[in-house]
Symmetry: C2
Subunit: 363 residues, 2 copies
């Protein structure tokens, strides 16, 4: 087992990474193992892992709430079901919530924990690669609103994250690949040696080699934790984490949410950011090719579907919440491992990238 | 104008106290006067004060949402109406919410501000005495759930509080008196000279003397701010603020919410806490009489209605969320100005106080 400490002063917490962890009682922090807790999970994850978590926690101190799977249930209404259950069971301020599932369960359960009686403890047991490397570090919690994703939320740090790599072995290949997009992102944005390591070990990762999975998760979380520690409330450096996301969100909006997985859109978005960076002279053609090649090896899309137009993408980007006061800011690359937040590009240069990807997609 | 600074490090903010403040643009912090903001108020307060706030803020930068008055609307559904409006108007993370009203509007708007896009700025313009001396300091925000009051919420500090004492002149006498119960509480729990000052100046307060109102508000807020600064997340000393509240909540539960105002129940609850403290030898009969007399002069109840039984109160107290692990803890008085959180009393002593108040009420 690897332990990574996320250093946030009084809100610091450990990320435990390894095989079989969720069934081992000793890894649960005292807040969970001593008090009463509510396990929140969904109907896909519950048959696979709920019994093991319940056994580890002991039968008498917890309850479980099994929700329907899917982003459609990441709503204020579902959060209210969690409050209902907590209040019906007379859970006090000393209770803890356990999020067992992917990003939706983590965000939703974290939000309920942030707002139940003005904040109770929670721990994350992320069961997807995306949640293990991304959602579980950073303290972002929230639910969707009909008018926008993640529009209702709070910052609330978990007491611990238990990343059991065995869970990844039951994950559909496409979801595993989507998680790899974020892993590759962490190499690109600030850790060139990790990008090299990923090039060397992508095959081992795709074969679910335990020690390779653990190392990829540790290094991704460490990179994210370093940036979050600089900027817990997201006013500055944390914007670097959005590498590939402005393009990616525009792709998701244009295709319709759910057509591509988030990680798939991010992968293509990172390729677009690399293309624009190369046009600006910040990235060599060789570096750009290394990025595209690694995404391809991970099984991720590096081009857009033929019907996506440059105009659609541009409009979707202009609506993105990361547009500050009318100026489009993007995360671009000054070399592999050197991400910057910038508006130092012309409309013509951005349009060249959009046209290239949309033409290329249609060729 | 008096300015009191609530010292919470990076989350420090000023409480401005004086006459006519809400109509004066210069008192609004830059977060509100420069960016876009949403004023949230209710249909009782809006006809009295909304136009003045809108004029101070300038017409082009704000919107207003007028809700129905009353605790019944302090719900997650109403919070969702605020999110709807913010999203329909495309308000970004740089917006601010302005809470114009009493405690319900403050708690609800503060909760929406705490959770919209993971937290945006808000300012409070409390229009009741209770909200000016109590709800506006401490950072508690929240809404009710059908199974419990204030069960959903967050800690979120305002950027500023504008306490305009002119608002108190339109307040019904009963609501003004209910606010005085909390003012008296601040003298009792840690500021004996303030209690003396209240005895000397109660008549001037009841006549709405501007400088007396401002001083009573300043001193109450300063006392609350001192305690909150020690204990922002409510794990220790902040419990002292609950003087009179365990008895008070039991009275409210027994009578049914809304029969007595919260401040009225707190006034009678403080008298009960004083009675128990005197039985323990911690308060002299003279001190107890001073407390009861001051509550009476403020127009507050110091006895219980005849139909309330000791058994009902005891059951309601046992359900209170301030009961930690089965032990009833109460805030009691070791002299005027010397509140303590304690379980150092016997069941027989507590029952004597309950029996006295319930007998006395029936006499």
């Amino acid at each position: 087992m690897i332990t990574l400490n996320v250093d946030l002063g009084a809100r610091s917490y450990p990320v435990l990474i390894g095989t079989g962890l969720l069934a081992q009682a000793e890894h649960y922090p005292p807040a969970v193992s001593r008090g009463r807790c509510l396990i929140v999970t969904n109907d896909v994850v519950a048959p696979l892992y709920l019994a093991r978590v319940q056994q580890a926690l002991g039968a008498d101190r917890h309850e479980a709430l099994v929700l329907a799977d899917g982003e459609a249930h990441k709503t204020l209404d579902t959060a209210n079901h969690i409050y209902d259950r907590l209040l019906q069971a007379r859970f006090g301020r000393d209770c803890a919530l356990v999020a067992l599932g992917g990003g939706v369960i983590g965000d939703l359960t974290g939000f309920a924990a942030a707002t139940y009686q003005r904040g109770v403890d929670f721990i994350q047991i992320p069961t997807t690669l995306l949640a293990q490397v991304d959602s579980s570090v950073g303290g972002k919690t929230g639910v969707n609103h009909p008018l926008g994703k993640n529009m209702i939320g709070a910052f609330h740090q978990p007491r611990a994250v238990i990343a059991d790599t065995d869970c990844l072995k039951t994950l559909p290949a496409r979801e595993f690949a989507a998680g790899l997009a974020e892993v590759i992102k962490y190499g690109l944005l600030g850790d060139a040696p990790f990008f090299d390591w990923l090039e060397q070990n992508m095959d081992a990762l795709l074969q679910h080699g335990d020690k390779f999975l653990a190392e990829a998760i540790r290094r991704s979380c460490a990179n994210k934790a370093r940036i979050v520690a600089l900027d817990e409330r997201e006013s500055g450096p944390r914007a670097l984490l959005n590498l590939g996301h402005s393009f990616g969100h525009a792709i998701e909006t244009t295709l319709g949410y759910g057509v591509w997985l988030h990680g798939e859109a991010v992968a293509a978005g990172i390729c677009m950011a690399a293309d624009l960076s190369r046009r600006l002279g910040w990235l060599t053609p060789t570096e750009q090719n290394r990025i595209v090649r690694l995404m391809e090896r991970a099984g991720l899309p590096t081009r857009l579907p033929p019907h996506v137009s440059a105009q659609q993408l541009l409009e979707a980007m202009a609506l993105d919440k990361k547009v500050t006061a009318g100026h489009l800011r993007l995360v671009l690359l000054k070399g592999i491992g050197g991400a910057v937040v910038t508006k130092d590009f012309s409309a013509a240069q951005l349009n060249a990238t959009l046209a290239h990807y949309c033409r290329e997609g249609k060729a």
